[in-house]
């Protein structure tokens, strides 16, 4: 059963629309914009990196998180807790890169730009990515 779930998850990721290769290095092409230039947040967020987002995709994203060298570290989705209900779904969200080495899911109380409680769903794109954006 567990192996079937993992196969299904990998298939789902492979089928998710991948953004253009230009987003592997910051800054990604339009319509992505730097989050710190859209809302009052720091340029670099420890734990996520320097974030870019297409404002039209808010709140879910995808947000693209880059390390200090401008390399794509993670794709992040921000799903309001209130939207985790039978009447709402998020389908076909794009991914920043096709390689995903691990996923983190955790609660965030809210912040400028997504000022409601929400879940961060973080797709790390290489094994060292999390450490590179930790601080």
């Amino acid at each position: 059963m567990r192996s079937m779930f993992l196969i299904a998850a990998a298939t789902a990721l492979a089928a998710a629309p991948a953004l253009a290769e230009g987003n592997l290095v910051a800054p990604p092409p339009a319509p992505f914009a730097k989050v710190s230039e859209l809302v009052p947040l720091p340029d670099f967020l420890p734990g996520l990196g320097t974030l870019y987002v297409d404002p039209a995709s808010l709140p879910a994203g995808p947000f693209l998180g880059y390390d200090h060298d401008g390399k794509l570290a993670a794709t992040i989705y921000m799903i309001p807790v209130s939207d985790l209900n039978p009447d709402k779904s998020f389908a076909g969200l794009a991914v920043g890169a096709e390689t995903v080495t691990s996923v983190d899911v955790y609660y965030n109380a809210g912040h400028a730009g997504v000022e409601v409680p929400h879940e961060h769903i973080v797709l790390w794109h290489d094994a060292g990515a999390k450490e590179r954006v930790a601080k």
Binding site: L41, G47, G110, H111, E115, P117
Partner: protein, 164 residues
């Protein structure tokens, strides 16, 4: 014996007034919890108070509950002027000086819904005839109203730490 106790009480009050006047904004690394530290603070009239954002991954505000600021309920003395720090980046600070005795309730704009509120008590009611507390509830839900520390606790301890 009586004089010694009175002197101790006066010394304790002086100690409260001389304590560092700073409230920091804090948060866990993943942003799951955010809070003011302390959540309740006593200061003397005319004392400068500093708000300092020590949350490395977030911006915060210190914003007084006042009808003059976004039409919020009155929770500061009627003759006092409210404040709004605007968004503070990590390690950025904002200072205010409160002259009117009474209770000042404040909140963080992006995190009010998560209970990030605080309370400042300026002066003691027995020392100031114009000491005032306004506690309009307005649009504040019960869980936020319950997050303010008790005035009595702030007066007796000088500062109240955030729970947890």
């Amino acid at each position: 014996m009586g004089g010694g106790i009175a002197a101790s009480l006066l010394a304790a009050r002086a100690g409260l007034a001389a304590s560092p006047s700073q409230i920091t904004m804090r948060g866990t690394k993943d942003g799951g919890r955010i809070w003011f530290d302390p959540v309740g603070l006593y200061i003397e009239p005319g004392q400068t108070l500093r708000f300092l954002n020590q949350d490395g991954g977030n911006t915060h505000t210190s914003t007084a509950y006042s009808p003059d600021i976004d039409g919020r309920p009155l929770r500061i003395p009627a003759d006092a002027k409210g404040w709004d720090s605007d968004y503070l980046d990590p390690e950025q600070a904002f200072e205010i000086t409160l002259d009117v005795p009474g209770v000042y309730d404040f909140y963080c704009r992006p995190h009010e819904h998560a209970g990030m509120v605080g309370r400042i008590v300026v002066g003691r009611p027995e020392d100031h005839a114009d000491w005032e507390q306004n506690a309009e509830t307005g649009d504040l839900p019960p869980e936020i109203l319950a997050a303010f520390p008790a005035v009595a606790d702030i007066l007796s301890m000088g500062r109240v730490a955030a729970p947890g």
